[in-house]
């Protein structure tokens, strides 16, 4: 089987090089950086700073809290949307329309909200029709939540839609046949069966929400600081890479925890 080994090697060399250089090395370097001081000596100092500081802990809690809110808002909007989309006749086409906005540069969409939400912007103009005085809508917690949720909605709809589409329509018929009304069918059959999609959606929204630094900068002012914002700040503004890497490690831990919490417990045979 010499030819097989040759073949394997031919594939492994470029791909393995990528894995080593751009997957393993950066993560090791990040971890290493978080364990060093400015002179390159090994230390746990950065973690001591992080866990000893009320500001950092509060920032972390806030970031998680906001990510939770964003996830909740998108879930509440997306589940009914995915459910209704799945009942449409041309559902693949409508799904495409949901996905289309995700192909438009995130920065452009964020930029649009600057125009919509500014003090003399469209939303305030619209409100003034109802006699509501113009307010500063930008640079608030709410504007951050709104824009972040807007960005994330398609990523929540898509996995939920896919898991709903996989449910055999016969199951819904069977449930109705056995006496369950539409609502009972949704609660007892459809909802449990679409949980894998909901979990995938939570994963796809919660983790990025922890690190959306550009939206906090452009829309949230500097009121909302996420883990992502803090990392960007330490790397590109204050140049404290050690502490930035420490926060990065914290973010990775948060990510892993999220993935463990939302993983599919039932192994689906060997498919996928």
């Amino acid at each position: 089987m010499k030819s097989k080994q040759q073949r394997q090697l031919f594939y492994l060399v470029p791909y393995g090089a990528w894995l080593l250089l751009f997957v393993i090395a950066p993560l090791v370097l990040l971890l290493f950086q978080s364990l060093t001081n400015a002179n390159g000596g090994l230390t746990l100092h950065n973690y001591a700073v992080y866990f000893g500081s009320g500001t950092y802990l509060r920032m972390t809690f806030n970031s998680v809290w906001f990510a939770f809110l964003i996830t909740l808002i998108t879930l509440v909007i997306s589940y009914p949307m995915a459910y209704l989309l799945n009942q449409l006749k041309q559902k693949q086409f409508w799904l495409l329309l949901v996905i289309l906005p995700t192909w438009i540069n995130l920065l452009l969409k964020t930029y649009a909200f600057i125009g919509l939400l500014s003090k003399t912007g469209t939303v305030n103009n619209f409100m003034s029709f109802f006699g509501i005085a113009p307010q500063q809508l930008l640079f608030s917690d709410w504007s951050f939540l709104l824009v972040a949720a807007y960005i994330e909605i398609p990523f929540m709809i898509l996995p939920i839609f896919n898991s709903l589409a996989e449910i055999d329509p016969k199951l819904e018929q069977a449930s109705r046949d056995l006496g369950a009304n539409k609502w009972q069918t949704l609660r007892r059959v459809i909802l449990p069966l679409s949980m894998p999609g909901v979990k995938a959606g939570i994963q796809a929204v919660f983790i990025p929400s922890l690190s959306l630094f550009m939206i906090t900068r452009l829309i949230g002012g500097n009121r909302v600081i996420t883990l992502g914002t803090a990392i960007e700040e330490h790397f590109l503004v204050t140049q404290n890479w050690q502490l930035g890497s420490t926060i990065g490690v914290i973010l990775i831990v948060a990510m892993v925890v999220t993935m463990i919490l939302t993983r599919d417990r039932v192994k689906k045979n060997t498919r996928k």
């Binding site: 055999d168 109705r176 009304n181």
Partner: protein, 367 residues
């Protein structure tokens, strides 16, 4: 049919999607406690009738009655019928017990009642040891039983079965046919069974509806339908048939493949063009001298309890014969049959006309 209030009645029920007519003016009437079968090829509308009874589909026109009440607008969940679905449609997120308990729990039965009901149903389908199993751990036959138990757990007055046996292998299917029939007789409720398998239909049913093109072609007991198919479609679909064109010269004399034959049909116009049906198992091989038809053996294969023989007569008609004795391919032999084995079908005769004609000449015979 007997003078009993029907449990389900269809009065000229039609269903169409745009210009496509799925069902065309169906009339039918089902009695309490019988085993009915809707038999037909795929696309004939048999499953549509099932869905109209269960309420998954709504009729375009016509009335559907349940115990004399119109139920066209009653939603699925309010109907006292339940369905065994083709691929079982068991809830994969629930185990066997939870699947069967689904209906009773929706009805808000007490915990004890639910447990007793589920236990009874699982016992009925011989799965009482399997309550805690996951659906994914069950074999096809076991899933089938769970589906039956689940549908029966709601104490339906009518059980609908949508090709429930089609996914099972031959041996298992035979066993389930017998068992379903037994369950139906024990519970005494009405079963409406959909299948495209004529053997299955003949073996299980009290009454069969043969469907094609959205129309009921014929309905009757299995014997009626097998022995007296009303038209070419039914004769061809139910069992195997040799069908040739013929002329009904006078009562009890039919002419086909160039000869006159004595038969037992009457009540038609003189020299009316008809179709003649002869079942392969009614034909026997004999010597040329004794043969009513002379044929050449074209093909022969051994089928265990009989020989399946294809023979060709001098007019070029093909004859299927199920014979107990064998022959040589290429050999010329005679075919023999009895007068009562000849079945005559008139063109475009309705079931009602057929029944009326039958009655008229059978009365004559008695006089």
């Amino acid at each position: 049919m007997a003078e009993q209030t029907p449990i389900i009645e269809f009065k000229s029920v039609s269903l169409a999607y745009g210009d496509t007519e799925i069902l065309k003016g169906i009339d039918l009437s089902l009695e309490q406690g019988k085993f009915y079968t809707l038999l037909g090829p795929s696309g004939s509308g048999k499953t549509t009738i099932l869905n109209l009874i269960s309420g998954q589909l709504a009729a375009t026109s016509g009335d559907i009655l349940f115990e004399n009440k119109r139920i066209n607008d009653v939603p699925v969940e309010k109907r006292t019928v339940n369905t065994v679905f083709q691929d079982y449609a068991l809830f994969p997120n629930m185990n066997v017990f939870e699947n069967v308990a689904f209906g009773p729990s929706i009805k808000k039965m007490s915990k004890n009642d639910i447990e007793r009901q589920v236990h009874d149903m699982l016992k009925l389908v011989k799965l009482d040891q399997y309550a805690d199993r996951d659906i994914s751990e069950l074999s096809g036959g076991q899933r089938q039983r769970v589906a039956i138990a689940r549908a029966l757990a709601n104490d339906p007055k009518v059980l609908l079965l949508d090709e429930p046996l089609s996914a099972l292998d031959y041996k298992l299917r035979k066993d389930m046919q017998y068992e379903l029939r037994e369950i139906q007789q024990r519970l005494g409720i009405t079963f409406v069974f959909v299948t495209h398998d004529q053997e299955e239909a003949l073996a299980m049913s009290d009454w069969i509806f043969v469907m094609n093109d959205g129309v009921i072609q014929q309905n009757g007991t299995p014997e009626d339908i097998y022995d007296e198919p009303i038209n070419h479609f039914v004769a061809d679909f139910i069992g195997e048939s040799n069908i040739v064109d013929g002329i009904m010269k006078t009562d009890y004399v039919v002419h086909f493949v160039g000869k006159d034959f004595e038969n037992v049909d009457a009540g038609m116009r003189p020299n009316e063009r008809v179709e003649v049906v002869l079942r392969p198992e009614d034909l026997d091989l004999t010597t040329i001298e004794n043969g009513k038809l002379i044929v050449t053996i074209d093909d022969q294969s051994f089928r265990g309890d009989y020989y399946e023989i294809t023979a060709i007569d001098d007019d070029g008609n093909e004859w299927q014969v199920q014979a107990t004795n064998s022959a040589q391919v290429g050999e010329r032999v005679g075919l023999t049959f009895d007068p009562e084995d000849i079945h005559i079908m008139r063109f475009n005769e309705s079931e009602d006309d057929f029944d009326a004609r039958l009655e008229s000449y059978e009365d004559d015979d008695e006089e």
